[in-house]
Structure formats: C-alpha cells, structure tokens
Assembly symmetry: C2
Homo-oligomer: 188 residues x 2
DNA sequence: TATATACAGAACAATATGTTTGTTATATTA
DNA sequence: TAATATAACAAACATATTGTTCTGTATATA
C-alpha cells in the first residue's frame, strides 16, 4: 500500500477520533474532519464515501484487532503481560482496554459511546460463540442458545459501560468478578 | 393549550415517526420533517429548537407514558386486559408493547433502535429501582446494588431487542420466562 | 366582537455537500 | 537515476440545509 495513502488514512482517523471525543457524531461535519486532518476535500472523498463508512472502517480496525487478539486466548498470550494462563478471556479484554487501547477507551466513554458499544458487542459475540457456545460450556437450561449467547455478550458490554461510566474506579479483576458472578448460573 | 399548537406538535411527531421508520436519524433533515408535516419553516423552530430536542420530547412522551403506566403495577391495572394480578410487570410491559404501542414498537425495531433502546433503558431503570431495589427484592450477593440494577435493567432491554430482531416470533409469556430465567439467581 | 397568537410564505446569509478540472508532489518500478 | 503512475491539492461548482427575520393571514380564546 502506498505510503501516502496510509498517512492520509491515519490522519483522517486521528482527526475523526479527536473530534469524536469532543463532539457528538451527528454534529461532526466532513468539513470538520477535512480541516482537522488538514487534507484536501477531494482526498477525503477518495478514501471514504461518507462519514458513516469512515466510522465503520474505524470500528472494524479497532474492535477487529482487540477481538482477534483475544480469539486465540488462552492458547496464545501474545505480548501482553497476563498474570497467569488461568486469567479469563474477560480479564484479558479489560486489561487490554485499560492498558493498551487509549483510543478505544476514549471512544467507549465519549458521548458517542452507544455507537461504539454496539460495534463492540457485535464483535464480542463472535468471541463468546467461540469461547462458550462452540465449546459446549453453556449450562443446560430452558433458554435458547441464541438468547443465552446474546445475554452473555450484552452483559459484558453493559458491564464495561458501567465500569467506564464510573471512571473505572474498580480494578479489572473486580470487574471480571462482578461479571462472572452475574452469569455464573448460566455457564460452566 | 391552544388547539393549533397541539395539532402542529402532533403533525411534527407523526412526520418524524414516519421518517424514522424509513430513514436513518442522521439522514433526516429538518427540511424533510417540514415537508412531510406540511408546515411552515418558522413553525418548526417555534416548537423545537433542534432535531435533537424533537427526539428527546418524543421519547419522553412515549417512554414516560409506558413506564408511568407500569409504575403503579400491580396495584392499579388501568384499562389493560391483564390475565391476572400475578402477571409480572415485565409481561405487562411486553403486552403493552405488542398490543398498544405500535409507534414505540416501530421505533424500537427500526434502524435507529439503539437511540430508542437507550431511552427505554433510562426510563426502565426507574421502574426496576422501584420494583426491586426499593422493595429489597435483590438477592444478597457480592455485587454492588447499582451494578445489579444496571444488569437487570439492561438485560430486559436486551431481551426486548432480541425479541424484536427476530420479529417477535415468541409470545410475551415465553419472553418473560426467558428473561426471568436469566436473572432468577439474582432476585427474590 | 376584540385581542392575542399561531401559522404561512418569502427571503436571507452562512455553511455543508459531493463532484469536476487541472496541477503538483511523491511513490514505485525498471 | 529516470520514467511512469498515482495520490494529494486547490479552486470552483451547483445544490441543499440551516436558522433567522420580516410581513400578512387565519384562528383560537375571552
């Protein structure tokens, strides 16, 4: 890929992220992004069809990365400093959020958080299916598997939202405990 | 209140609701609303400062009503045909959604559902606090009350979302069972 | 009937949108 | 290094939206 393209793309992402942390998504104009990124008008439109596509691409990069990293867990620990191999994948995710992904954190805490929480959820679902459903770790119950997967997934997202809305007062370990406690009767 | 004002307000709400069920919120312009409602430009702005305020007012009317109705439950049953006084407040809400509130249902199922689900959640939280927390019906656990209330609230909202996303295949009774099953270890 | 006010209609400057055209700067490759 | 391709730029564009201001008309309320 052309170095110029990469630079421009990154400049747009950076400008967009900066704007998102201070403004509502709806109130951000393409003009704002162009001005902040300091690029030509034409350039923006060669990279992204609309503002919505920019958002989509940004989310796919951010959440795609964090989920893919967690996908191999706990087999591959990559370069992150996990306390032990017994750490749950959730603790892993929370640590990742807290330590490595300032960008994601800012977006998830911003006034636009619902947008990003939704993207987070749809990516996380894949992870839950791999880690629980496919491994047969869901407890037998009268609940349909799809309902259960949805419940477990959104409960984690809501937990993260709750944590962030209270300025991450608690440690990732505590939050993981809360979360696992709230769903412990549903999984093995 | 002046009859003219009421009519105009309702015309705007109707136009806005119609537009929301076919377009994304971001893509609806004030001009669209004006054209659809067939009112003067000035008129819109005397009623609503911005599109966001219109959204806020609409949500407050819709969710305010549905939650207030449920608030007195099961003491006052109002005019709805509940099977028995033993019906849970959740079953009551689902029936209300299915039978009485075509508007809300359409909005909650539309491509803009996340906006309305959020409003739904914030209103529902008050109800959960009244019905569970204040009555001491939350099971003792290591979880902070605020976390628990948030979990129970968002689980219901997510349940409704799941139900709607599958075109309400199941009956309100079944959905209530699913929901209560998923949180039964947390409440009395 | 008299008075107040909600609405309509037109016009406004300011801004945003998405596209086009021609030019310059910079990667890639041979 | 030189040749070629292409990314980015700048300027201009028609079009649309925004929020406001003005004047005149219609319709509530008292």
């Amino acid at each position: 890929m052309d170095r110029r393209q990469k630079k421009t793309r990154e400049a747009i992402f950076a400008a967009f992220t900066a704007l998102l942390s201070e403004k509502n998504y709806n109130q951000i104009s393409v003009q704002d992004i162009i001005d902040t990124a300091d690029i030509g008008r034409t350039t923006f439109y060669t990279h992204f069809e609309t503002k919505d596509f920019l958002l989509k691409d940004l989310c796919e990069e951010l959440f795609g990365h964090i989920i893919e990293t967690a996908m191999g867990f706990p087999q591959g620990h990559y370069h992150c400093n996990c306390a032990s191999a017994d750490d749950s994948v959730f603790l892993h995710l929370l640590r990742h959020l807290q330590e490595n992904d300032r960008n994601i954190l800012e977006l998830l805490s911003s006034q636009n958080n619902e947008i990003f929480l939704r993207y987070f959820k749809s990516n996380l679902k894949r992870l839950i299916i791999t880690q629980y459903a496919d491994k047969g770790l869901l407890k037998d119950s009268s609940l349909p598997e799809d309902y259960l997967v949805n419940h477990i997934t959104s409960s984690f997202v809501e937990t993260v939202d709750w944590w962030l809305s209270r300025d991450m007062k608690e440690s990732p370990e505590i939050i993981t405990e809360y979360y696992l406690e709230s769903i412990k009767y549903l999984v093995n």
